[in-house]
């Protein structure tokens, strides 16, 4: 009886917690630490990046054509900015049950084939994607280190031409990181993009 009562209380508390956490990060918000499994089997935390200037978090996946279209550009962002203190951390939030091409093994295969030199983490519980308010892939959150906190400085898409990188004339993520590197305000801190909706678990 006691255990039943306890589980009921737990359920109610969980319900309250969930209801309270429906608001996702907004621009300027501090981001809570998270710890997710990388394709190499090791755990990676946001706090591992404390010595840098920030992190480019990209919710991404294997299966979405928009993710595939942006794949080389994401690799390029890490090549350009990791050495300047803004490395890329890619997170796959898709439920592998609904999107088998996004399983851990498939993620590892893509990372190997494309020679990822940045983490590609699996958000199996989808808690990190929910916390960030990520809705589609790829969905970028540029975080700026502020004291001991990471604060959201940019939310949105990579640039303004999914189909053709060379035709993109608004490079939102690069512009945001360049501004942060110069301690300037980000001119366009929020954008939207068509993308594949995250494959959420069936509740």
């Amino acid at each position: 009886m006691k255990t039943k009562m306890q589980s009921l209380v737990m359920l109610i508390c969980a319900g309250i917690l969930f209801a309270g956490s429906t608001t996702s990060y907004q621009l300027g918000d501090s981001v809570s630490d998270f710890k997710l499994k990388n394709v190499d089997g090791k755990m990676v935390s946001l706090s591992d990046y404390k010595s840098g200037k920030g992190v480019i978090i990209i919710f991404d996946c294997n299966t979405c054509p928009y993710s595939r279209a942006y794949n080389d550009r994401i690799i390029g962002l890490n090549k350009k900015y990791a050495s300047q203190g803004f490395p890329v951390v890619a997170i796959n939030p898709n439920d592998p049950a609904q999107s088998p091409g996004d399983s851990f093994d498939e993620m590892a295969a893509v990372a190997k084939k494309k020679h990822y030199d940045f983490p590609y983490l699996q958000d199996l519980s989808q808690e990190v994607a929910h916390a960030f308010g990520a809705s589609n892939t790829p969905h970028v959150f540029v975080l700026k280190k502020d004291g001991s906190d990471f604060k959201v400085a940019y939310i949105g898409t990579i640039d303004n031409n999914t189909r053709d990188a060379s035709a993109a004339d608004k490079k939102y993520v690069e512009d945001a990181v360049n501004a942060l590197l110069e301690n300037k305000p980000v001119a366009t801190p929020k954008t939207k993009a068509i993308g594949c909706g995250i494959r959420w678990k069936n509740s």
């Binding site: 979405c64 303004n160 031409n161 189909r163 954008t191 939207k192 909706g197 494959r199």
Partner: protein
């Protein structure tokens, strides 16, 4: 050499009896959203590569096939414009009857907010407008059986 010709003939033959997608710019979609019509406008955003979109298409086809004079269904396709042939082949293969407009606007930030401020850009998404009373509903997730009828009833 023969095979491509045969495939082309097959494609043309099937295309002749099915819908073709018309390529539009945002002004045409804006006109549809602002239409002063007596019909409830059901506008669905989809792409051939989007699995949940393809899954819900039969619900929109069924609504269109009901021929309700008070409802107009339009499918806004978001495949890249250079994939028009692929879209038309898809329409023919699925024998779709609903009007399909391929929106050729790659700079998404210039128009997403004009469809609905709450839309993050993920598809599928469905906009339902009753021009007569200005009521509108926006759903940015996969439609379930009965959702369309419920949303239409809510704007009437």
């Amino acid at each position: 050499m023969r095979k491509p010709v045969f495939l082309l003939c097959l494609f043309l033959a099937s295309a002749a009896s099915a819908q073709q997608a018309n390529v539009i710019k945002f002004d045409k979609l804006q006109a549809l959203i602002d239409a002063k019509s007596d019909q409830v406008q059901v506008i669905n955003f989809w792409a051939t590569w989007c699995a949940p979109c393809v899954k819900e298409l039969p619900l929109l086809e069924k609504l269109n096939a009901a021929n309700d004079p008070t409802v107009k269904v339009t499918l806004i396709n978001l495949d890249f414009a250079d994939k028009l042939d692929k879209v038309n082949a898809f329409i023919a293969r699925k024998n779709m009857k609903t009007d399909v407009l391929l929106l050729d606007e790659i700079d998404y930030n210039t128009w997403i907010d004009k469809v609905d401020k709450s839309w993050g850009g993920a598809i599928p998404a469905t906009l339902i407008i009753n021009p007569k009373n200005g009521r509108r509903k926006f759903l940015d997730k996969e439609l379930q059986e009965g959702d369309l009828e419920k949303l239409i009833a809510e704007v009437k």
